[in-house]
């Protein structure tokens, strides 16, 4: 399956290579570099590149390309998913997944890669199993190991590897037993200029941080499980129980994990929590343009909008801007033409606005598209879909855990289109 792995940084250097079968020369990456040159943006490198003898499947994360070399037929997603799992593991181990972190921990990285694949086929990808085999590096442990001569490598087969619950190790002990669940929803929307919604959908996840002693068996129930249109589970969730009773029943992994991700269908009307009024005008022939932007909350169920950030890619003809924000700070990069405005919190009594003029390149023609405006925001203590956790129960252990549930809504890909609708084609319908 996976023959070799090359890690390539943004300047096109291979800084790590690992082979699981016979060695593949790193010159195979030349095909990748070619594709990289052709692509205008780093993201535009195609994930699957055929070469005469191999196939290169790559993912880009944290500005590092993870390039896997494949020699024969394999589902591409299999490789892609695995590479992402590798990145997640590195992140888990080193806190960040950067070139520097990988280089500093190159031995651990190598040991990890060795355990994760055998002959190119995934062997152990579950984080808790890996952590028993290879303990994550900490400064303290490094020092202790130097003195005592002990190692970071486990000597026993991790208990999870053979058990029916491979995601949980046995003998977990905590003095404070706690289980926290974060319900985080992201709203993706495209709003047209008049403010009507073109498309909107809510994606949610429940991230959990469970630190419980022993082998607890948890059940989590919702007030309104019908809202969840499509779900995917952590393997620990008992699917049949969900099918039958709409209850999440599971023996949790130890630590942080994603319990559930869900989708609230776009058929349900999604309440858009924010509106944007904007007016950007360019006059033909003039070197000045007007820019006006106001935003305000709408349908937020009494919760405030926080961490609001507006960004927009202005047309190439714009040389500079001279704008006045009523609150927060704004920034315009004349090179990338990226305008960003950090609004902060929105006070419903006093709506934030950004007004002023733009100077245009002399003689440049009028841009034919008003720029798209991307909005980011957060709403604390509220899940936009209205999803509510009913209760969390624990079986199998005697102590009383501390339980906490937090809700949050975030903007995902939320954009308002600034289109000149006037010239829309005459459509018969």
């Amino acid at each position: 399956m996976i023959h070799s792995l090359f890690l390539v940084n943004s300047s096109g250097d291979i800084f790590l290579e690992k082979h699981w079968k016979s060695v593949v020369s790193r010159s195979v990456c030349d095909y990748f570099f070619e594709a990289q040159e052709r692509a205008s943006e780093p993201e535009n490198v195609p994930p699957v590149i055929p070469t005469p003898h191999h196939y290169l499947i790559s993912v880009l994360r944290h500005r590092i390309y993870f390039v896997a070399v494949i020699q024969s037929e394999v589902p591409p997603l299999f490789v892609i998913e695995f590479l992402h799992r590798v990145v997640d593991t590195f992140q888990d181990y080193f806190g960040v997944c950067t070139e520097a972190a990988i280089k500093d921990n190159v031995v651990v990285v190598y040991e990890l890669l060795e355990e994760m694949l055998d002959n190119g086929f995934p062997l152990a990808t579950e984080s808790n199993i890996l952590k028993e085999l290879i303990k994550p590096p900490t400064i303290l442990r490094t020092v202790v190991n130097t003195i005592t001569g002990s190692t970071n490598v486990g000597e026993q087969l991790p208990t999870g590897q053979l058990s029916v619950v491979p995601w949980r190790r046995t003998g977990v002990k905590y003095t404070n037993n706690e289980a926290y669940f974060d319900v985080v929803e992201e709203i993706d929307a495209i709003i047209d200029k008049s403010g009507s919604t073109i498309t909107a959908e809510i994606q949610g996840v429940i991230d959990a941080c469970v630190k419980l002693t022993g082998m607890p068996d948890l059940t989590l129930s919702f007030m309104n499980p019908r809202l969840l249109d499509d779900v995917s589970f952590h393997p620990c969730v008992r699917f049949k129980r969900w099918e039958a009773e709409r209850i999440l029943s599971f023996i949790p992994p130890d630590g942080n994990f994603r319990l559930l991700s869900y989708h609230v269908s776009c058929q349900n009307l999604v309440a858009i929590p924010v509106y944007v009024k904007h007016n950007i005008t360019f006059r033909e022939g003039s070197s000045q343009g007007r820019f006006e932007l106001t935003l305000g909350p709408k349908q937020t169920m009494g919760k405030g909008l926080e961490a609001v950030l507006i960004s927009s890619q202005l047309p190439r003809g714009v040389l500079n801007t001279n704008l006045n924000p009523s609150q927060g700070t704004y920034n315009f990069d004349p090179v990338t033409k990226l305008l960003s405005w950090d609004v902060g919190k929105i006070n419903p009594q006093k709506l934030p606005s950004l007004k002023g003029s733009m100077s245009l390149q002399a003689g440049a023609s009028k841009p034919d598209e008003n720029p798209t405006i991307n909005i980011q925001f957060k709403i604390q203590q509220s899940a936009l879909s209205g999803l509510k956790v009913n209760r969390l129960d624990m079986y199998g252990e005697k102590y009383k855990p501390f339980k906490g549930i937090k809700y949050m809504t975030k903007a995902g890909k939320f954009q308002t289109k600034g289109l000149l609708r006037g010239r829309a084609w005459d459509l018969k319908n």
Binding site: E114, H234, W425, K428
Partner: protein, 1044 residues
């Protein structure tokens, strides 16, 4: 940490200046610095110096130094630098006690062994020794490395090691052996036949850990040996949910291929499928009887349905590869109306990483061409965002175009209009192409689109204009008559368009429709004559074309122009243009040499041309199995396995039936002793009840199973039909039963294990028969002594038989048989028939997995009761062996009959009907958990070993206060034996009492420890992998032992 950092800097500087000094102090400091920051440190040294250092460190006798050296070597390897010259120094450390050092040496070995074959052989004996290590992790990693060393000379050793590991008791080691199969195969394909044997063996493995890996090996080594799958098909389907996610992908892909060869197409008559939907399947038995005569309609093979049903939950997996593999399975196997279930999940994946989106969108693109309806409700999910990568954008366009129909076209076109204005011009061009496709596919909007595209001709961006021209050209070809004004418009724009393809397209249009624009075309030609030399080749060719066509239609005006252009073309640098010019001249300019062809010049050049068909590049891509690499790159990747067409007639279905007997060599042995046992078991049957001696009962139990196996052999047809019935039943059963997955696997777990070793021992009557059934547990019992030394040396390559895998766990006779009888049927409700049952605690005669139950029937009426038998067994469907019908029971008489019930290791009641000639009574047998065990004897040592394997989740314990009378050995033993059918394990300590047994149905080990503490407190510990039974048994024991 700051201090350490400084230290490391200082030390490395120091070393830089004194690198030729090699002393132990220096090395120690170096070690510290290497540990802290190995990569930066190693950068400081020149290669040769460093290697000397490293060699020195490797040869020192301190593990920490060696470890540091290895870490730096690994850093070198990671960077792609050559460290092969250190091989002799490194390989010496292969037997190190330090596990991390050893692992790093393994990594090194695997990397360089191929280059240094002779030296690599030095390490082999270490691995051979490690293969016998009691620690399964060490065994597994030894096998991993041994098989990764690509040295052809050790092929026989690898083969042997694989074979041995394939029957290792640890599933993890067996998994590793499955991986090793592929490695050996790529090293030496000649071993194929032997490897297939191992694959066949491992395919029968019931561990979920092994399943994925062995199927992977199967796919790599012998994907065409579909016959190996038959017997394991149902097991794989049932295990699938519990297999690790990577294995799921591989198994699903393989099963898709399998199913296409074994089942008939569900797509033929779409109308009839509703009958066979999910709900219908549950009642398939009834359906069959009702619809028995309607053989024409399509009936899905239950195995086909099983696969679809068991893969469906995996659509909810967090692993995107699993979701897509299920999606492709449904796409290729499910009836058309059921494919819809995958839509939502695929759309969900669009939220994932960019690369995932790319692959998923490709698959959706292929699907959406054939099945618009599937994705139309989710159209908005395919709207392009400005932040999408270019290849994602074009895929989304592709899909939106495929989804367009009369109803939604206006929405889609409105969306497209916004895309045209995108700053990403490549994407804008793609959108224009897409508009063109919509226009040709949906005739209602052709005009609108054409008008819109004409508007775009005045766009400021060149690429947009050029693309529009190209698309307009294609559209005009479909209906040229009405559009001369568009052609005129384009002629006007001609001067402003620089993109060669667009210019060429306009010229072609002029020429093709020159009769509709008689004024303009010659003028365009005039302009082209002026600029001819500076044009691109493609434009030149079209200019020549235009000249020729005009010459034919309007020679008066264009004769001189044409000749001029032909002359220019004659001396062009490009040979294509020279060729074309020569050809055109011969064709159109009449002279003596031009033969008959000249007459037809007009018909040749101005022939009506068919309009181009604008179609997706994803059309027909589903000739490749979806989700594969070949599908993504649209060419056949090496190693791609074709998906065959559905067979017209389904191959024999019975091949998947799991027969009771395994077709192994051992069955031959049993054949020879058939007759004797057949008669034996007959006698036993007539006696009707289990005898008390344990010897006897176990022999009869083995012989009765013998009987069933010999039946299966002698009467092939009967057995297959019988077992297919059985499997039908149990598959519907598993559907109904609760969420526990082990009950689903019932069918597979109750299969043949008990057959394996019974026969050779039973043949010799002197041999204690008791060990027979106990053999089943050998999977849980470790092989105590590694007798086979064959792997120790290189020269002896024949495997020793594992002769003394002695049965450490033997089933013994019951320690105590409780007299307690339970009411089955009271005489009042039973209209005079009363029945009581008790558990005789004898191994069941009929099947070893059953628990035997004795029922005493008493007639309290004044007339004889006739034909007492067991009727309908109700929906719980526990496997039961009924007693023979009691023909007549006289008044006041009573009779004892025995019954076997497979409780499946659960305390679920067995419900059935007790019938007489006239009446039927619903009764149920509710077993206490303790009755589901068979007692076992083992040594204290074995007990501890077993207990060590069953910790954690498998352990339940409680502290109780013992009743005063229960503090000595005998009462405790008696109390425990009353509650549960367990055997006493001799114990060295007075305060610890041990009991052992195994569950009747699955043979799982059950261990009970009662440890007396001071002041009549006691700790009860139960170890069993049956996580439900453990706590139940604990509860019962607590009740029995605690103070009242």
């Amino acid at each position: 940490s700051v201090f350490l950092l400084i230290l490391s800097n200082v030390s490395s500087n120091y070393l830089l200046f004194s690198h030729d000094l090699v002393g132990s102090n220096c090395a120690a400091v170096l070690g510290l610095c290497g540990l802290l920051n190995s990569s930066t440190c190693s950068d400081l040294f020149l290669l040769s110096t460093r290697n000397d250092d490293l060699k020195e460190m490797l040869e020192s006798n301190k593990d920490s130094l060696k470890l540091d050296a290895m870490k730096r070597i690994i850093a070198l390897i990671a960077k792609g630098k050559n460290a092969s010259e250190l091989f002799p120094a490194v390989v010496k450390n292969v037997a190190s006690k330090n596990i991390e050092l050893k692992k790093l040496v393994y990594v090194y070995l695997v990397r360089y062994a191929e280059e240094q074959q002779d030296l690599a052989l030095l390490s082999i004996s270490t691995f051979q020794r490690a293969l016998k290590d009691p620690n399964q992790l060490i065994r597994a990693s030894a096998l991993r490395v041994l098989s990764s060393i690509r040295v052809p000379i050790i092929v026989p050793i690898m083969m042997l090691a694989i074979k041995e590991a394939a029957s290792d008791m640890s599933p993890y080691v067996r998994k590793t052996s499955a991986h090793a199969i592929q490695k050996l195969y790529s090293l030496d394909p000649d071993q194929k036949e032997h490897l297939i044997e191992v694959i066949d063996k491992l395919l029968k493995d019931k561990s979920t850990l092994v399943a994925g890996s062995v199927v992977m090996a199967f796919e790599e080594v012998c994907p065409d040996r579909i016959d190996l799958i038959h017997k394991n098909y149902r097991k794989l389907c049932n295990l699938l949910v519990d297999v690790e996610e990577w294995g799921q992908v591989v198994i699903i892909t393989m099963l898709t291929r399998y199913a296409r060869t074994q089942f008939t197409s569900p797509w033929k008559e779409d109308g009839l499928f509703d009958e066979n939907s999910e709900t219908a399947f549950y009642e398939s038995d009834e359906k069959k009887t009702k619809n028995g005569d309607e053989k024409k309609s399509y009936m899905m093979d239950p195995d086909h349905r099983l696969l679809l049903r068991n893969t469906k939950p995996l659509l909810q997996s967090r692993n995107t590869a699993v979701v897509v593999s299920v999606a492709q399975l449904y796409w290729h196997l499910a009836p058309k109306h059921e494919v819809g279930v995958i839509t939502k999940s695929l759309v969900r994946l669009l939220r994932s990483h960019r690369e995932v989106q790319y692959v998923v969108l490709q698959n959706i693109a292929t699907m959406s061409i054939q099945r618009k309806g599937m994705f139309e409700p989710y159209m908005k999910s395919f709207y392009v965002r400005s932040t999408d990568a270019t290849h994602i954008k074009s895929l989304k366009l592709e899909i939106l175009t495929s989804l367009a129909n009369e109803a939604n076209i206006s929405t889609i076109l409105r969306e497209f209009q916004t895309y045209v204005k995108s700053q990403d011009k490549q994407f804008a061009a793609g959108t224009i192409q897409a508009i063109g496709r919509c226009a040709t596919n949906i005739s209602e909007v052709t005009d609108t689109c054409l008008q819109g595209l004409v508007l775009l001709l005045s766009n400021r961006d060149e690429t947009v204009v050029a693309e529009s021209v190209v698309v307009i050209k294609k559209l005009l070809q479909t209906q040229p008559t009405q559009h001369s004004d568009i052609i005129k418009h384009m002629a006007k724009l001609f001067d402003n368009i620089a993109v060669p393809m667009a210019r060429a397209s306009i010229l072609w249009l002029m020429g093709e429709y020159c009769e509709r624009v008689p004024q303009i075309a010659p003028d365009v030609l005039r302009k082209m004559a002026k600029s001819f030399t500076s044009e691109e080749d493609i434009v030149k060719l079209q200019t020549v074309n235009l000249a020729a066509k005009l010459y034919l239609t309007n020679s008066k005006q264009t004769k001189l122009l044409t000749q001029y252009i032909l002359n220019l073309g004659k001396y062009d640098q490009n040979y294509d243009i020279r060729d074309r010019t020569r050809f055109i001249r011969q064709l159109i300019v009449p002279n003596e040499k031009s033969g008959a062809l000249g007459k037809y010049a007009r018909r040749i050049l101005l022939a009506p041309k068919p309009a181009p068909v604008l179609e997706s590049t994803y059309k027909d891509r589903d000739r490749y199995q979806l989700g594969t690499l070949s599908h993504t790159i649209n060419t056949k990747a090496s190693g791609y396995l074709e998906l065959s067409d559905w067979p017209a007639v389904a191959p024999d279905q019975s091949v998947r039936n799991v027969e009771v007997i395994e077709p192994t060599g051992k069955s031959k042995l049993s054949k020879s002793s058939d007759d004797k046992f057949y008669s034996d078991s007959g006698e036993e049957k007539e006696k009707g009840s289990g005898s008390s001696s344990s010897d006897d009962s176990s022999s009869s139990s083995s012989s009765s199973s013998e009987e069933s196996s010999s039946e299966a052999e002698s009467d092939e047809e009967k057995s297959s039909s019988q077992s297919s019935e059985e499997s039908d039943k149990s598959s519907s059963l598993s559907e109904k039963s609760s969420s526990e997955s082990d009950s689903e696997q019932k069918k597979t777990t109750k299969k043949p294990p008990q057959k394996k070793t019974v026969k050779p021992t039973t043949k010799d009557s002197a041999c204690p028969l008791v060990c027979g059934p106990g053999e089943r547990l050998h999977g849980f019992v470790s092989k105590q002594v590694p007798v086979s030394l064959s792997l120790y040396s290189l020269c002896i390559l024949t495997p020793c038989p594992l002769s003394c895998a002695a049965a450490l766990l033997q089933v013994s006779g019951p320690a105590f048989v409780p007299e307690k009888r339970h009411d089955l049927l009271h005489r009042m409700t039973g209209k005079g028939l009363s029945a009581q049952y008790q558990f005789p605690r004898q191994p069941c005669l009929y099947q070893p997995t059953m628990v035997s139950v004795q029922i005493s029937l008493t007639n309290t009426t004044d007339h004889p009761l006739e034909q007492i038998h067991i009727g309908d067994r109700g929906p719980t469907g526990l496997d039961m062996h009924c007693f023979n019908t009691v023909e007549c029971l006289l008044p006041e008489a009573s009779v004892t009959v025995s019954l076997g019930v497979d409780f499946n290791d659960s305390t679920q009641a067995a419900n059935f009907q007790l019938c007489t000639k006239e009446d039927q009574f619903s009764v149920s047998i509710q077993p206490a958990v303790g009755e589901l065990f068979l007692p076992a004897t083992m040594t204290e040592q074995d007990f501890r070993k077993e207990q060590g394997k069953l910790l954690g989740m498998n352990e339940s314990s409680a502290t109780i206060t013992m009743a005063a009378e229960n503090t000595t050995r005998q009462p405790i033993s008696r109390q425990v034996a009353t509650v549960a059918n367990l055997g006493v394990v001799p114990s060295g300590q007075d305060n610890i009492h041990r009991f052992a047994g195994k569950t009747a149905s699955s043979g799982a080990v059950v261990l009970v420890t009662v440890e007396l503490r001071e002041s009549s407190a006691a700790l009860i510990t139960i170890n069993t992998e049956k996580s439900v039974m453990g706590p139940m048994l604990l509860r019962d024991l607590k009740r029995a032992l605690a103070r009242a």
